[in-house]
């Protein structure tokens, strides 16, 4: 056990604390000495070598490698958790409604699905959770929920790992010592009682963004009892620009809803609407639906942005602009489109052409276009976006407004301001009792607030969170939060639709829901969250039959008709009076991390190990910069001999100064990043995140100030230090292999038949001209030539998959879904750096330049998810000496884990390198919580065994059994692979290619269907559809 956060007060035995501890301990406890009992750190130090299980040496057998540490059992915690296996927990008398088919009883081996909701950073996504024998194992999107439509994202997919995280806070503690919940309630009510007469003066509540109607009501009620108490809100990953921009434009906060299905032209001003933010899954679906070959009028996306985002990578035209230029561009465009009160500013060659082209495009598509501004953008950009949309008549068509979906304190004017007033109060001594419900402000508050110092002045500090983190350390009380899969709650999503959060499992530890915590501050302290949530909705519901309303809402995963009413707004005439933005030679952009967001997922191994969509970095963040900036600074990187392009990178470090603070961090070159600015993602550099998340990356909050919360002027210089990064795809160039790997074309060429992507890239070797769907090496080539006989699938199914590269946005959801479905282990940064990362489906990112863009400065990016190709003539099958990988009667390359001896010959001979090897014992067999996580339908692999994508063979077999029971063939679409089911853009299609009517067969019949490295004649079952873009001819170079 890691004792680093034990701060020794003194070395003497503290009898008082021993007594207190004994009093609070449940059941019998045994001790050997008073030293042990007092948890004296000296004693611990002496004991550790005697019990090597506890020592660093044991946990860290590979020198610096810490992968075992990451997933290893916490022996100290094991004792606690073993008593709380879900089958043994007290089943609360609260009804949970199963989705789809309510069984009479739980049938072993048959999963049940329940609808629930993931509340996340002020929004919510409806999900279905697969539950095996009472333990949740997999998250799927809820097709009926407006924010999901069946899709899911990386945060949702990975959230299940957090449920079973052994590092989560487990019991209520007071000054680090376990206390009972009752003890806390007693202490809290005592403190409150003494303040009741004063109207709760000095009491403060600090929450994150609140979108739970029940919680909002609870807080309102509490504030009614204690009128002088105050409620503050703070989120470090959500920009205040959205709210302030709306206020600037309309004089009030609004919630903006976009309808991409009605838009022809979309301009993103630094917005990553496809991957992050409220409604992203729905928007990604609508976006991709407007970009299919069957679409009549294909949507065109322009993206002007500083950092390369998933949305920018998916765009047809991308313009890298540093933040101040982005404002200038928005203004120039607004002025050009005739928005009153906006002056275009000085002409800037960087975007001059774009203003002309976009003015024309947008004016041609009045009422059918969208201008959308990003989370990190300043208020002015949001206001300009509103004004442009108004000017174009988009409001009411593609854009609608509602009241904000979140609930805010009175007089709320942004998270930073709200926190500022709290800090001011704390500093002035006006606060003597503080409840921090969610969030980690000691880590992520603006540096200039000196939040920790201010908080020390509060007499009673209570922290409520999932982890015992940086903030908890400085608070008196800590209350463990329940995971959403253990909680009753509710949440409103992007359009205000409310849904119930229902628990899938009783709390694994002694956690409490946020409703129970706030109930502790009210006059009804003993109410359970089930009662609270149900009572709230009972009060909201005026239909006579509440019970059926409640059942239906739980079953569907949403409360029907609860979307917020549309609202009309009028543009303020003086909206842009004060709107000057300071430009600087070098600017910095802060942005939530694509995988761990603002640090709340720092201890989630799946998200830490997930390669960032564009940089493919794992386990770290870095100062992202354009190649030109890197060249000026003289920073570079080199591939290590260990792992190389696919793992270990040695990168130069830079020192970044911003607002008088400096931070040393690794530099990373991102083609397409805007010049003159750098990006630093939030969420890293945590000191007390847990075994997985502590001390990874660089803490952006150390240079983040309230004045320029999302960036501003910065200084950057190279320092003579290097840093080791683990990056899964370092190779930037295609080596002229684009034809075999990534085929691209345009909608226009494709529809007019001019698409020659299946011939392109071969220069003189254009033998296959005019022959559709033939390998490019010529029509005369004996395509079927093989030493081995053809397989016969005529009597069976033949499974196949297509991946539409037009739709794929590289969001990574499939990779995490696969990890969750198939029990893929986390291996740690050192192992990733060795080139061993285990994802069964990897998302390859390729850059290309075309006539429109400068290479490196602004390349086009394409994403290619690569699972196993399930080749017909599989090179892996013939080389395995023990027949551990063999061809199934339905055409899958089956892996027989039991039979595998691990020669790795199959992996060597795989042209696609999709096979993954358990070089060490990667799977954690000892942590009890993590055992619960595993999908029981998939073998858990041990050391020395090869593994790879199976096309989710367990799902195929499940469907087969169901079909055979009903004496019918498996229907098309009945089998949905894990990657397919979560894909927000439906890029992945799976089915029976023996059936010419199946969706996958029809896609494979399309002209743009191709396989990777066709010339090897491996005949993959997984094929790709050419990536089609919709560029504007007017934006071409020269």
């Amino acid at each position: 056990m890691n004792n680093t956060h034990d701060k020794p007060q003194n070395d003497r035995i503290d009898l008082v604390s021993i007594r207190a501890r004994l009093a609070n301990e449940k059941g019998k406890i045994f001790w050997r000495s008073l030293d042990e009992l007092s948890e004296n750190p000296e004693f611990q130090k002496a004991v550790d070598p005697e019990f090597p299980d506890n020592t660093e040496v044991w946990l860290d057998p590979f020198g610096r490698r810490k992968f075992l540490k990451i997933m290893a059992a916490s022996f100290a915690f094991a004792g606690l958790t073993a008593c709380k296996l879900p089958t043994e927990t007290l089943i609360p008398n609260e009804k949970i409604k199963p989705y789809v088919r309510p069984p009479e009883e739980i049938v072993p081996g048959k999963p049940l699905y329940f609808a629930t909701t993931i509340p996340f950073a002020g929004t919510a996504t409806g999900v279905l959770v697969e539950s095996h024998m009472g333990r949740p194992t997999k998250i799927e999107g809820n097709a009926e929920h407006p924010a999901s439509l069946g899709g899911s994202d990386v945060f949702g997919q990975a959230s299940i790992l957090t449920l079973y995280d052994p590092d989560r806070a487990q019991t209520t503690t007071y000054l680090r010592e376990s206390k009972s919940w009752g003890a806390f309630l007693g202490a809290a009510s005592e403190a409150l009682e003494s303040r009741r007469s004063k109207g709760g003066e000095g009491v403060r509540f600090l929450t994150g963004a609140v979108n739970s109607p029940t919680l909002a009501k609870q807080i309102k009620d509490i504030l009614a009892i204690y009128p002088k108490a105050k409620w503050h809100q703070y989120e470090s990953g959500i920009g205040d620009g959205v709210r302030k921009g709306a206020q600037m434009a309309y004089g009030e906060d609004v919630n903006t809803l976009y309808s991409f299905s009605k838009a022809n032209i979309v301009l993103s001003l630094g917005s990553d609407f496809l991957a992050q933010g409220s409604g992203n899954l729905r928007y990604a679906r609508e976006f991709s639906n407007r970009r299919r070959t069957t679409t009549e009028k294909v949507l065109r996306l322009y993206a002007a942005e500083s950092t390369v985002t998933v949305t920018g990578a998916a765009s047809d035209h991308r313009l890298p602009l540093k933040p101040s230029d982005l404002v200038g561009f928005a203004k120039a465009l607004a002025a050009s489109l005739g928005v009153s009160g906006v002056s275009a500013g000085a002409e800037n060659a960087a975007y001059k052409n774009w203003v002309t082209v976009l003015t024309k495009e947008l004016q041609e598509n009045k009422g059918a276009s969208i201008v959308i501004a990003g989370n990190e953008q300043p208020a002015i950009v949001h206001a300009l976006a509103h004004a442009i949309n108004q000017a174009l008549g988009n409001v009411g068509n593609t854009i609608t407004y509602t009241e904000p979906t979140g609930f805010s304190p009175e007089g709320f004017n942004g998270y930073v301001d709200s926190l500022k007033s709290l800090v001011d109060d704390m500093n002035s001594g006006a606060v003597d009792m503080l409840l921090i419900a969610g969030g980690n402000p000691v880590y992520d508050a603006p540096l200039d607030f000196k939040f920790a110092d201010a908080m020390e002045k509060v007499a009673l500090r209570i922290h409520y969170s999932l982890y015992y983190d940086e903030t908890s350390e400085l608070c008196h009380w800590h209350i463990p939060e329940t995971h959403y899969l253990e909680s009753w709650s509710d949440a409103r999503t992007f359009d205000g639709t409310a849904s119930i959060v229902q628990p899938l499992i009783a709390p694994l530890y002694y956690g409490k829901t946020i409703h129970e915590v706030f109930a502790g501050f009210s006059d009804q302290k003993d109410r359970t969250s089930y009662e609270i949530v149900r009572a709230f909705w009972q009060s909201q519901n005026n239909s006579p039959d509440f019970e059926s309303f409640w059942r239906k809402s739980l079953h569907d995963g949403l409360i029907a008709g609860s979307a917020l009413a549309l609202k009309t707004v009028t543009l303020k005439t003086d909206a842009f009076a004060s709107s000057d933005v300071k430009a600087a030679e070098m600017e910095i952009v802060f942005s939530p991390d694509p995988t761990i967001f603002d640090g709340r997922f720092a201890n989630n191994g799946w998200l830490q190990e997930l390669p960032k969509p564009l940089t493919k970095i794992t386990w770290d963040n870095a100062v992202l910069m354009s190649p030109a900036t890197a060249q000026t600074l003289g920073v570079s990187r080199s591939f290590n001999y260990y792992g190389g392009e696919r793992g270990g990178n040695t990168v130069d470090m830079v020192e970044v100064s911003h607002q008088g603070q400096t931070l040393k961090a690794a530099a990373w070159i991102v083609p397409g990043h805007a010049n003159g600015c750098i990006t630093l993602h939030l969420g890293y550099g945590r000191k007390n995140a847990g075994r997985v998340g502590s001390n990874t990356g660089f803490n952006a909050n150390l240079i983040r100030s309230s004045a320029e919360f999302w960036g501003g002027e910065a200084k950057i210089s190279k320092v003579a230090e290097t840093y080791q990064m683990a990056c899964t795809q370092g190779q930037q160039v295609m080596q002229g292999r684009d034809h075999e790997l990534v085929r691209i074309s345009t909608f226009e060429d494709y529809k007019s038949g001019k698409d020659d992507s299946h011939e392109k890239g071969h220069g003189e070797k254009k033998e296959g001209h005019g022959e559709e769907n033939k390998p490019h090496f010529g029509p005369t080539h004996p395509e079927n030539l093989s030493m081995y006989p053809e397989w016969d699938y005529s009597k069976e199914y033949a499974w196949g998959m297509t991946i539409d590269m037009t739709s794929c946005i590289g969001c990574n959801a499939c990779a995490v879904a696969c990890q969750s479905e198939n029990n893929v282990p986390v291996i740690g940064k050192e192992q990733v750096a060795m080139g061993r990362h285990m994802h069964w489906i990897r998302i390859d990112r390729y850059y290309t330049d075309n006539e429109v863009h400068e290479p490196l400065e602004n390349p086009e990016a394409y994403f290619q998810p690569v699972p196993c190709m399930q080749c017909e003539k599989a090179p892996c099958e013939t080389v395995c000496p023990v027949n551990a990988t063999s061809h199934s009667s339905e055409g899958l390359n089956d892996m027989v884990y039991n039979r595998c001896v691990g020669t790795r010959y199959c992996a060597n001979n795989c042209p696609y390198k999709v096979r993954r090897f358990n070089f060490l014992q990667y799977t954690d067999f000892s942590t009890p919580q993590l055992k619960l996580l595993n999908n029981p339908d998939v073998t858990v692999r041990s050391r020395g065994v090869m593994e790879k994508c199976t096309y989710c063979v367990q799902r195929i077999n499940y469907a087969r059994v169901e079909a055979e029971k009903e004496n019918r063939p498996i229907r098309d679409g009945e089998i949905v692979t894990a990657c397919q089911s979560v894909c927000p853009t439906q890029a992945i299609v799976f089915g029976n290619i023996n059936d010419p009517e199946s969706k996958v067969s029809k896609l494979k019949a399309e002209k743009r269907n191709y396989s990777l490295v066709e010339e090897l004649a491996t005949k993959p079952r997984t094929t790709y559809l050419t990536a089609l873009r919709n560029p504007n001819a007017e934006l071409k170079k020269g």
Binding site: F62, F639, N640, Y641, Y642, G643, G644, E645, R646, G647, Q729, Q731, V733, M734, Q735, R737, E740, M834, G835, R836, H837, R842, D844, R845, Y846, Q864, V866, P875, T878, V879, C880, P881, V882, N883, R899, C900, V901, G902, T903, R904, Y905, A907, N908, N909, P911, Y912, K913, R915, R916, F917, N918, F919, L920, R943, G944, V945, L1012, V1013, L1016, T1018
Partner: protein
């Protein structure tokens, strides 16, 4: 050696002035036996040999440490990863198998071709073969993820589950090829030892030693019957071993040639591997024989004739190998296949460029000095060349295994590989084991076949009148 003598005496042996004899003048049956057997039975072990044995033993313990670590934690202690699934393990495996080739070639093919000069060095080379195969066999077993299963799942053992190995897999063929090669080499070596074991038994003074040699000699009394049977079996085994010289490395080359990876998938591999194996085998024989010759004063039996002949074999096979390198490069360009072209381009200019050019220097350029007779006859320079060739041949296998894998079809999964300390320890450990066994061999068995040397003496040339 009736058969050989019979063929030999029919020809008028050409009398060449310059030819250095295979056995220096002044020896008779008695002195040959004395000289060779006394190394084992009479002389004190040279102190250098004892020290060498001690060092070799220590180095061999690296093997034990490396294997313990490997079995305890898994293949992950090595530097392997997803594009590069084989590294130093298979590189070294092929290297050792190649070294083992000289023994069989000298014993079998040169025997059948009536090359008399082989007699002084064949036993030494055969022992080397055996120990090299033993070293080689460690790698295919322990490179697997689960050696405890690999140890027998690759064998076609009938079982109730009706599970068989995959007979299409070259690794499967390897199992047969290497085990056949190992057992035939062992038999050949042992049968060739029997007459000399009889001599050792007769000359030993210590009762226990006498008994051991006595058992090993299987009652050899030098009867005509014994000699007749010995000749039959020895020639039969030579016939059996001859195809093995070609087949073993051919099959080892199939591990690569049968795959689809550019740089592996090539038809030139079988002959090129065999030539390379003989090349490295002769280099290793010389590397070991030259010091042994000096240490045990064997100049009379291992003459300049042997050394020069071996140097010539090295030159010829070295040229074949060099031709192979050039053809690889030529076809990389000529075939017009972008993957093949990139493979050779990457070898020459990629991150492992220095390994490639070292290989070209070691195996292609350095052996060219062997055209010069003076070099062939200078044991010091020659020994240096053999070391360079040994290193070069190791690099060759490294280039084939690693540079082909690390950048194949999809640039997105390109990676790099470097061996870890545990791989180097394993490699060093096998060298230690090899030298340890060689030293035990020269100390415990007659390293030069006494009875065969005797057939080369003028005494044995007494002819009956026809």
């Amino acid at each position: 050696m009736e058969a050989n003598s019979a063929t030999a005496h029919q020809h008028q042996e050409p009398v060449l002035k310059d030819v250095i004899p295979v056995v220096n003048p002044g020896h008779n049956f008695e002195t040959v036996s004395d000289k060779i057997s006394s190394i084992v039975l009479r002389e004190r072990t040279p102190i250098t040999l004892i020290m060498a044995l001690g060092i070799a033993f220590l180095v061999m313990n690296l093997l034990m440490a490396a294997l313990t670590k490997l079995l305890y934690q898994g293949v992950g202690v090595w530097g392997l990863n997803t594009p590069v699934g084989w590294g130093l393990d298979i590189t070294t495996f092929v290297w050792w198998i190649g070294i083992g080739h000289a023994g069989t070639l000298i014993s079998a093919i040169l025997l059948l071709m009536g090359q008399k000069w082989r007699t002084s060095i064949n036993r030494f080379a055969e022992a080397m073969t055996l120990f090299a195969v033993a070293c080689a066999a460690i790698f295919p077993l322990f490179h697997t993820g689960r050696p405890w299963f690999a140890a027998y799942w690759l064998l076609p053992i009938p079982n109730t589950m009706a599970l068989w190995p995959q007979f299409r897999s070259p690794l499967m063929w390897d199992v047969f090829a290497i085990s056949t090669y190992g057992s035939v080499s062992l038999l050949f070596w042992y049968v060739g030892l029997i007459p000399d074991l009889g001599t050792m038994r007769d000359r030993a003074k210590n009762q226990i030693v006498k008994m051991i040699y006595g058992m090993l000699s299987m009652g050899w009394r030098g009867e005509a019957r014994h000699w007749a049977r010995y000749e039959t079996i020895y020639n039969l085994l030579a016939g059996l071993a001859t195809p093995l010289v070609v087949s073993v490395h051919t099959i080892v080359s199939f591990d690569f040639a049968v795959s689809v990876i550019p740089g592996w998938h090539t038809t030139i591999f079988p002959p090129y591997f065999v030539a390379g194996a003989i090349f490295s085998g002769f280099a290793m024989v010389l590397t070991l024989l030259l010091p042994a010759r000096y240490l045990f004063n064997l100049h009379d039996f291992v003459t300049m004739r042997h050394i020069e002949n071996m140097a010539k074999v090295m030159l010829v096979t070295g040229l074949m190998v060099f031709y192979g390198y050039n053809m690889e490069a030529f076809f990389g360009w000529y075939c017009g296949n972008e993957y093949e072209f990139y493979m050779i381009y990457n070898r020459m200019t990629g991150p492992y460029w220095w390994v490639y050019w070292l290989l070209i220097f070691c195996n292609g350029v350095a052996p060219q000095v062997l055209w010069i007779k003076k070099v062939r006859q200078n044991v010091y320079i020659l020994w240096g060349i053999t070391i360079i060739v040994n290193i070069g041949m190791w690099f060759e296998r490294f280039i084939i295994v690693v540079t082909s894998l690390h950048r194949d079809f999809m640039p997105s999964v390109w990676g790099m590989y470097a061996p870890t300390i545990w791989e180097w320890m394993l490699y060093a450990g096998t060298i230690g084991m090899f030298i340890f066994l060689m030293i035990l061999f020269v100390r415990a068995l007659p390293m030069i076949p006494m009875f065969e040397i005797k057939t080369l003496l003028p005494q044995s040339k007494v002819r009956h009148k026809e």
